[in-house]
C-alpha cells in the first residue's frame, strides 16, 4: 500500500490551471523529487498535498484515509510535514520554541507535553547544528538558518511524509551535499518518505531522489527513476534546451 495516493488532482486560480489532472503515488520511506521550471505548479502541488489549498477536483488518500477534504492541521496529525519555499518560522518565538511547536502539535502531538516537546527540540537543535542560537528569536536568523529551523520543526512533527519546498535553493554545492546526506540519514533512521521540490538543482536531485516527477505548466510530464528522468529528452526540452552538462551540474 502506498503512503500517499494522488488521483487526478486539479487546482485552478481563476482561469489559470496551476495543477492539471495529476496522479502519482508515494511509497513508504522513499525519496522523490518534483522538478520543473518556475511556475510549473510545484508549490501548488505541495499546498494541495498538505491542505493549504483544497483540490478543485480529484482525490487524495493518505495511508487509508481519504484526506481530500481535510484541513491542513488534520493532515499534519496524520503525518504530513512541510517546509516552505520562503522559510516561515514563527518570528517572535525562539528557535527552541519553534521546533517544540512542531513536536507538540504534529503527528505525535497528542502524546507530547510541553516539556517533552522542548526536550525533543534540544535534540533536533543539536542535529541541525543551531545550538548557539537555541534561545534567540527565530526572526533574527539568516535565511539559511531559518531554513534549518524549519526543517527541524518539520522533523519534530514526526511526519511520515516530509514535503520540502526548494529546501536547497541558495545553497552552495558543499552545503547541498551536506544537506543531501543529512536528509538521507533522516530517511533511513526515521523511515520518513521525503518529497523534495527542487527547481534547477540537479545535483540534489541526482544525489537524493530515487524517483523524479517532472511538472510542466501544471501537468505531469514524466514520473520515472532518477537516472532515466535526467536523460529523458522530454525533460531536457522543458529546461529550454540547456546543454546536458549544465543541466546535470
Amino acid at each position: 500500500m502506498p503512503l500517499l495516493k494522488v488521483r487526478n488532482v486539479t487546482k485552478r486560480f481563476g482561469g489559470l490551471v496551476a495543477v492539471d489532472d495529476i496522479s502519482f503515488e508515494i511509497r513508504h520511506g522513499e525519496t522523490m523529487a518534483i522538478v520543473g521550471p518556475n511556475g510549473a505548479g510545484k508549490t501548488t502541488m505541495f499546498n494541495l498535498i498538505n491542505g493549504v489549498f483544497l483540490a478543485d477536483e480529484g482525490q487524495m488518500i493518505f495511508e487509508d484515509v481519504d484526506v481530500t477534504h481535510f484541513p491542513s492541521y488534520r493532515r499534519a496529525h496524520l503525518g504530513i510535514g512541510r517546509t516552505f519555499q520562503i522559510p516561515r518560522p514563527f518570528a517572535s518565538a525562539t528557535v527552541r520554541e519553534n521546533i517544540a511547536i512542531g513536536g507538540m502539535f504534529g503527528a505525535a502531538g497528542s502524546e507530547v507535553n510541553v516539556d517533552e516537546a522542548l526536550e525533543m527540540a534540544d535534540h533536533y537543535i543539536e542535529l541541525i547544528g543551531l545550538t548557539p542560537h537555541r534561545d534567540k528569536p527565530a526572526g533574527g536568523l539568516t535565511p539559511i538558518e531559518k531554513k534549518m529551523v524549519e526543517i527541524a520543526r518539520a522533523l519534530a512533527m514526526k511526519p511520515r511524509l516530509l514535503l520540502m519546498d526548494e529546501a536547497m535553493a541558495g545553497m552552495n554545492p558543499t552545503d547541498i551535499d551536506k544537506m543531501v546526506e543529512f536528509l538521507k540519514d533522516i530517511r533511513d533512521k526515521e523511515g520518513i518518505a521525503i518529497v523534495a521540490m527542487v527547481e534547477h538543482i540537479m545535483r540534489a536531485v541526482a544525489g537524493l531522489a530515487e524517483r523524479v516527477l517532472v511538472m510542466h505548466q501544471g501537468a505531469k510530464l514524466v514520473d520515472e527513476p532518477t537516472q532515466e528522468a535526467l536523460s529523458d529528452p522530454k525533460v531536457i526540452e522543458v529546461y529550454l534546451g540547456k546543454p546536458a552538462e549544465e543541466f546535470h551540474a
Partner: protein, 332 residues
C-alpha cells in the same frame, strides 16, 4: 516539582505589584478610589491582552463583554433580591456574568473567528453598538431606561452589607479578576495553548501546517478573555455603582482604553498590561486635574506613536534589555 514551579515564577512580580497597590489602598483610604481605578485598568488590560496580545487579533467591540457582564450581575440582584438568597445573589450574579459573556463570545466568535485579520476586526466593530441597540430596541431589561438596583441590593443583604459590597468588595473583586487574568495568561503561556497562540499570531497558515487547530485555540482565548471582561463588568460596574444604563456600558471608549493600556505596556507580555495600566491610569488621573476632557485626545496619538516607533511596548523593550540576565526568569 521545583522545576515545575519555576516555570511559573513570572507570577511573582505580578502578585507583588497587586499586593503593593492593595496595600497602598488600605493604608491610605483617601486614595482608595484612585487605587480601585488603577486596579480596574490592570484587570481590563490583562483580560484584553489575553486575546489581543496573544492572538494578534483586535476586537473593537470588546466592551460589549463588560456590558453583558454588568447586566448579569444587575439581573441577578434586580430580579432575585426577594428570594432570600442573601449574599448568594452576588455569586449568582458573577455566574450569570460569566454565562452572558460566554454566550455573546460564542455567538460573535462563531462568525468572526472563522475570518482572518481585517475581516475579524470588521465583524467585531459593531458588537457593542449592536448589543446596546438590541437592549434598547427590544426593551429588554427596561431598555434604554436601564436598571437601578441599589434598593434591591439593600433589601437582599441589609444596608450595611450593601454598603460594604459596593464600596469595598466590588473593588476587591476587581483585584481578584486582575489576578485571575494574570494567572490564566501565564498558565496559557506555559502550556500548549500559549504555544499555539504564538504560532498563529506570527503566521496562521504555517501554524495550521504544524498541526495547530487555530480556530479552537482562538476560541479558547476569546472566551477566556470575554468571561474575564464579564466578571470585571459585574464587579467594577454593576456591584460598585448598583445601576446600569445601556448607553454607558457599551461605550466604545473603554475599548480604546484597553487598547492603549495593552500597547503602552507591551502586547502579549504578562507584565505589560500592569505597566500600561499604571502609566495610563496615573497620567489620566493627573490629566483630569490639569487638562480635563483631553485624555483621549492626548492618548490616541500616543497609540499611533507606539505602533510606529515602539510596537513592543514598555515590557517588550525591557525584555530585550534583560535577555541573558537573572531577571529574565521573572519578567515576561
Amino acid at each position: 516539582m521545583m522545576r515545575h514551579l519555576q516555570k511559573y515564577s513570572p507570577i511573582l512580580p505580578v502578585l507583588l505589584a497587586y499586593g503593593v497597590l492593595l496595600g497602598i489602598g488600605l493604608a491610605y483610604p483617601g486614595k482608595w478610589q484612585l487605587i480601585a481605578q488603577l486596579a480596574f485598568y490592570c484587570a481590563l488590560g490583562q483580560a484584553f491582552n489575553l486575546f489581543m496580545g496573544m492572538t494578534g487579533y483586535v476586537d473593537f467591540g470588546y466592551v460589549a463583554f463588560l456590558g453583558v457582564g454588568t447586566y448579569g450581575m444587575a439581573v441577578s440582584i434586580y430580579f432575585l433580591y426577594d428570594k432570600g438568597l442573601g449574599i448568594g445573589l452576588i455569586f449568582i450574579g458573577l455566574a450569570l456574568a460569566a454565562v452572558f459573556s460566554t454566550g455573546l463570545s460564542l455567538a460573535v466568535g462563531a462568525v468572526a473567528l472563522r475570518l482572518r485579520g481585517a475581516y475579524f476586526a470588521i465583524a467585531t466593530i459593531g458588537v457593542n453598538e449592536g448589543f446596546r441597540y438590541f437592549v434598547e430596541g427590544a426593551r429588554i431589561w427596561n431598555g434604554a431606561d436601564g436598571m437601578i438596583f441599589s434598593r434591591h441590593l439593600r433589601k437582599a443583604v441589609g444596608r450595611e452589607t450593601a454598603m460594604t459590597l459596593s464600596t469595598q468588595w466590588a473593588d476587591i473583586l476587581v483585584f481578584g479578576v486582575a489576578v485571575l487574568a494574570a494567572i490564566l495568561t501565564l498558565v496559557y503561556m506555559r502550556n500548549k495553548v500559549g504555544y499555539a497562540l504564538t504560532a498563529l499570531r506570527e503566521d496562521e497558515d504555517a501554524a495550521k501546517v504544524m498541526g495547530i487547530n487555530v480556530t479552537k485555540f482562538k476560541i479558547i482565548a476569546f472566551i477566556t478573555s470575554a468571561v474575564l471582561a464579564g466578571l470585571l463588568g459585574a464587579s467594577a460596574w454593576a456591584l460598585k455603582l448598583t445601576y446600569v444604563y445601556p448607553e454607558d456600558v457599551f461605550e466604545i471608549h473603554y475599548t480604546v482604553e484597553a487598547i492603549i493600556i495593552v500597547l503602552l505596556g507591551g502586547a502579549g507580555t504578562l507584565l505589560g498590561p500592569i505597566v500600561g495600566a499604571l502609566i495610563y491610569g496615573a497620567s489620566k488621573y493627573f490629566l483630569a486635574i490639569v487638562l480635563p476632557g483631553f485624555q483621549l485626545l492626548i492618548f490616541a496619538p500616543i497609540i499611533i506613536v507606539i505602533i510606529v516607533l515602539f510596537p513592543e511596548g514598555t515590557v517588550g523593550i525591557l525584555k530585550k534589555k534583560i535577555r541573558g540576565t537573572a531577571l529574565e526568569k521573572f519578567i515576561i
